[in-house]
Symmetry: C2
């Protein structure tokens, strides 16, 4: 029996600051804000046995263990491919502010489209993944940022055709340390007025001066004004600053990220990667040419 396979890589995305913009239409809902995409990310492999029925659900694994992500299931359903097998492998921790669920959803959309020859455009696939992520309440802006790569600035919320993006032109090494999870749903489900105001202030600052140091400074101000800073992260940011570096908190996670060797210089033992230049992409693992 023939089988179609495809693989996609989607960069991790640490949000520096944001303001939530809910809406009934998930393609219109989203967030304004900015962040950094990382060469550490999520690889999604989709394979589909030819002729498999659409009434059965394919296997779902995360790092080799049985497990599924809601937004991934919704993407597969939307693409008429629930029977496809989906294997998610992640370089980055789940629930810690790296946008794993958005990356998995977008990777599943790209890989399923290729494996099953669905003939959707890139914008369509981003829209499907964004809607799935918003519908599950697990993120608002990661998918469109991860599709673009680099240092995405979300000028207007929403999926392609609705939202609007810019970017801070930069390449740099990045480091991060994670102290644990923080629930996106809990924060976004609460009173978000102060958070929104802080997010809009931070975006105004970055638009006026689209440079990495301004992004990091605006991110620190946002975490403080939105009252989201947790003690371990605050301590790490202070330690990096004392060592002459530049760090901020990843929204929403108990995670600190730094540019260059900021965390190493401050005595931490961080993961290291780079700003990802490409954004989400299909990966050729079969040498098919």
């Amino acid at each position: 029996m023939s089988s179609q396979r495809a693989t996609a890589f989607v960069p991790g995305h640490v949000t520096a600051f944001f303001s939530p913009h809910p809406a009934d239409d998930p393609a219109v809902a989203g967030s304004r804000g900015a962040g950094v995409t990382l060469t550490d990310g999520v690889t999604v492999r989709v394979s589909a046995a030819a002729g498999a029925g659409n009434d059965e659900t394919g296997s779902r694994t995360i790092d080799g263990e049985a497990g599924s992500i809601g937004a991934v299931d919704d993407v597969l359903a939307e693409m008429g491919a629930p029977a496809a097998d989906v294997a998610v492998e992640t370089d980055i921790p789940i629930g810690a502010g790296f946008g794993v669920s958005g990356a998995a959803a977008l990777g599943a959309a790209l890989a399923a489209n290729d494996a099953l020859d669905r003939g959707r455009s890139e914008n369509d696939l981003v829209r499907i993944a964004h809607a799935a992520e918003v519908g599950r309440g697990t993120g608002l802006g990661d998918v469109v940022a991860q599709a673009r790569g680099g240092v995405p600035v979300r000028l207007e919320p929403g999926a392609p055709g609705v939202g609007e993006l810019d970017g801070v032109p930069a390449t740099a090494r990045a480091e991060y340390v994670t102290f644990g999870e923080l629930s996106t749903e809990a924060v976004l489900g609460g009173d978000t007025a102060a958070l929104s105001a802080a997010g809009e202030d931070a975006l105004d600052r970055l638009r006026a001066d689209p440079r990495l140091p301004t992004l990091m400074d605006a991110a620190r101000a946002f975490a403080s004004e939105a009252d989201l800073l947790v003690p371990e992260v605050a301590e790490a940011i202070a330690a990096v600053e004392s060592a002459g570096g530049d760090a901020a908190m990843a929204m929403l996670g108990r995670t600190v990220f730094a540019l260059g060797t900021g965390l190493s210089d401050a005595g931490y033992d961080p993961e290291a990667c780079r700003i990802d230049a490409a954004g989400a992409r299909l990966v050729d693992e079969r040498g098919r040419e």
Copy 2:
């Protein structure tokens, strides 16, 4: 004396088909159409001696020889950096349909912004390079396509904030052979009514079915309907098709490009590269972290 340097890489872009959309405002002018960006492209190095006066013009080289590109000079002038030294190195032939002038302009914008810490956003830099390219009459859609990477589809003409892009999600090996130059200015300066109609038809087909084989088929129909096919290219396309492959003409150049090993299989000795996933980007050559 201290010196600031930065390097950018911009992929080559072979246009498969297009319709020109002139306008008085160069940010509004542009083209609809689609093409393929290539991992073969243009590297631009900008360096500026601190304190150099703005009334002198810096050195300009192309592949190590003295030489300048109009759109690059215009970008440097717009960024207040005419005194910067600019070295362009290209993997791809000039004047043969790969968008070298657009790539050089966009690379100069990215590298000058970084070297001189100008603090412009990505959209601003793309807009500056697009306007310079349009102003020189050397291209209409390469810059925005090269900024995106992949297989860009130009739904609406113009710079970021005006135009609109989508993409065909695909990764593949690409091959090309060039038989010589074709003047963009001469074609765009003539009667473009038939060309425009053919370009719009091709775009409608690709939007209805955003797959690589459809892109190639629409490109062949465009070249024929717009009466742009030159004999050497027509012969190569036919040879690739006879060998079971998929090839088309690069607009505007005496160049044939093929997917996979199409040209090799047909007995040509092509250059080989891949579809570029990332689009224009800064390159870290100094290990600065």
